[in-house]
Amino acid sequence: MIEIESVSKSYGGVRVLDDVSLTIPTGGITSLIGANGAGKSTLLSVAARLLPADSGRVRVDGMDVATTPGPVLARRLAVLRQENAMSVRLTVRELVAFGRFPHSGGRLTPEDHRLVDEAMAWFELGPLADRHLDQLSGGQRQRAYVAMVMCQGTDHVLLDEPLNNLDMRHAVQMMRMLRGMADELGRTVVLVVHDVNVASCYSDRIVAMREGQLVAEGPTSELMTPELLRKVFDVEVEVHELAGRRIGVPWS
């Protein structure tokens, strides 16, 4: 469970997060949606202690992220940011193995090796294990990063736009894998997503933000309404039921 208590954050006088309080329950996929600059990524970064909050606090399983020792928290919560340009040249296996760092401190045990292989198999990276990241396509690289985060073995996984740079096929594949992480492995997955329909089709809960504030949160079916989407994105969106799924159509 992630508890966010009246968190605020400003950049140079601009309030990016304005007194946000939110509880993300254990299990399932929660999607953060909102227009550009709504504060989704900032909220995710604060929750993952990549950014300090100006006020308020975030607790993961009861531990304050600002004061809990890094290695302790890194065994409970894993995070992947959007940009992951690295100055070092790694193979897929080396990258994924870094996910075990919070557990083994750089000296991999046989158990760690097994978990690395498992994470690579889960994301279908086996044949690419010994390739360098710069030799992969954008989609393959993205899978490798998510595999590292999964390999960290944490109950909570926070991902900032994991579908960035992915084409339709790979986006669907990625969402299925994340769904599997939530359903089969019991992880709590929190995503920042641009596409409301991805959020609608794959997540259990939606958190909608606008101008640094929480607009609404709740089960996906309750939030996929024309009224709410208009409020969040400032654009008319029709919502249609298609094969049991709610699909928003903004081009009307």
């Binding site: 202690r49 890094g70 065994r75 100055s87 760092f101 750089g106």
Partner: protein, 337 residues
């Protein structure tokens, strides 16, 4: 190191599995060690005329100085590049070593040569290192702080800072009494041929202590090299590791500069060559590799200098010539990554 060769090597490496890579790394390190040993043996024994005892003692001292500098430059460069997440900038390119020269010059100007030279060298050194660390902290916070900066802007800044320090040094040294200036020159532009024994011992101890301290950090440095956010996500206290690494860098740069003066491009040369040859990012491999390469470059360069050019040049010219070419090659290659 052409584009073609690089991509070919990349594809060749792709076929290797992790254990095969480890074997190759080990072999590369052994070959480097053997080459360095050969160069050292040649350096000690070539062209000895007269007393062997005397020659070995003289050359041994120079060799010790080179070893200290090689380790200091290699470790400081690799660490600096790790914490700043780039492969082009080095403490020397960012003007650290020239700041060290400026500090000494201003010291002589303000306090007088007599005061400076009679001060315990350990105390003098401590003060210089503290100033250098202060500078490093300011530079790091302002330049590499939160936002990602364009590497070209940083290179430009480094060039501007470096030449500013050099100009200030020149200005101050013109204001200094000529006699004091001679003392200053003695302090600054020592080369491997005239290294003070006491200073050498002090430097060796310092470099050994710092390197031992750095060794504890290695696994965490491997993670820090992935970038700030990833490192924090993996539970590494990023700020603390960066601060400790920069502290080590400041001490090592000060030691190397105090011993033999600025050799701007040596660090860049050995750090990148070590990564390329060993094909890994792991500090436990890169650091020894870079140190060996550094010693090889210095001893080899000195041999070439003595045997081919008959001392008619300086070692820093030879190293900077080769290192400068590598620097330009890296800058040209950078946008592809």
């Amino acid at each position: 190191m052409t584009e073609l060769a690089r991509s070919r090597r990349g594809q060749g490496a792709a076929a290797l599995t992790a254990p095969q890579r480890a074997t190759r790394r080990r072999r590369t390190l052994v070959v480097l060690g053997v080459l360095t040993a050969v160069a050292v043996a040649a350096f000690l024994t070539v062209d000895v005329t007269g007393s062997w005892d005397y020659a070995l003692q003289q050359r041994g001292r120079r060799l010790a100085a080179m070893a200290v500098v090689a380790v200091a430059v290699a470790v400081s460069t690799v660490l600096f590049q790790t914490v700043t997440n780039n492969r082009i900038l080095t403490p020397e390119i960012m003007g650290f070593d020239r700041l060290f020269v400026l500090i000494q010059t201003v010291g002589v100007f303000v306090l007088g040569a007599a005061t400076v030279t009679t001060t315990d060298p350990r105390l003098r050194f401590a003060i210089e290192v503290v100033v250098l660390i202060g500078f490093g902290a300011v530079l790091y916070r302002s330049l590499f702080g939160r936002t990602e900066r364009d590497v070209y802007v940083l290179v430009l800044l480094g060039v501007v800072l470096g030449s500013t320090f050099t100009s200030l040094t020149l200005l101050v040294s013109r204001l200094i009494d000529p006699n004091e200036f001679l003392t200053l020159q003695d302090l600054l532009f020592a080369s491997f041929n005239s290294v003070d024994r006491q200073m050498l011992a002090l430097s060796a101890v310092l470099v050994a202590l710092v390197t031992a301290g750095v060794w504890r950090l290695l696994p965490r440095l491997d993670v820090v090299a992935l970038g700030r956010d990833t490192a924090i996500g993996l539970g590494v206290d990023h700020r603390r590791v960066v601060n400790q690494a920069l502290l080590a860098v400041a001490v090592l740069v000060a030691v190397a500069t105090a011993l033999v003066g600025p050799i701007t491009f040596l660090g860049l040369l050995v750090a990148n060559l070590a990564r390329q040859l060993l094909g890994t990012h792991r500090h436990a491999w890169v650091l020894p590799g870079a140190a060996l390469l550094g010693l090889l470059a210095l001893v080899g360069g000195q041999l070439v200098l003595e045997q081919v050019f008959g001392f008619n040049s300086s070692l820093s010219v030879v190293v900077n010539f080769v290192g400068g070419i590598v620097f330009i090659a890296l800058l040209i290659r950078q946008p592809r990554q």
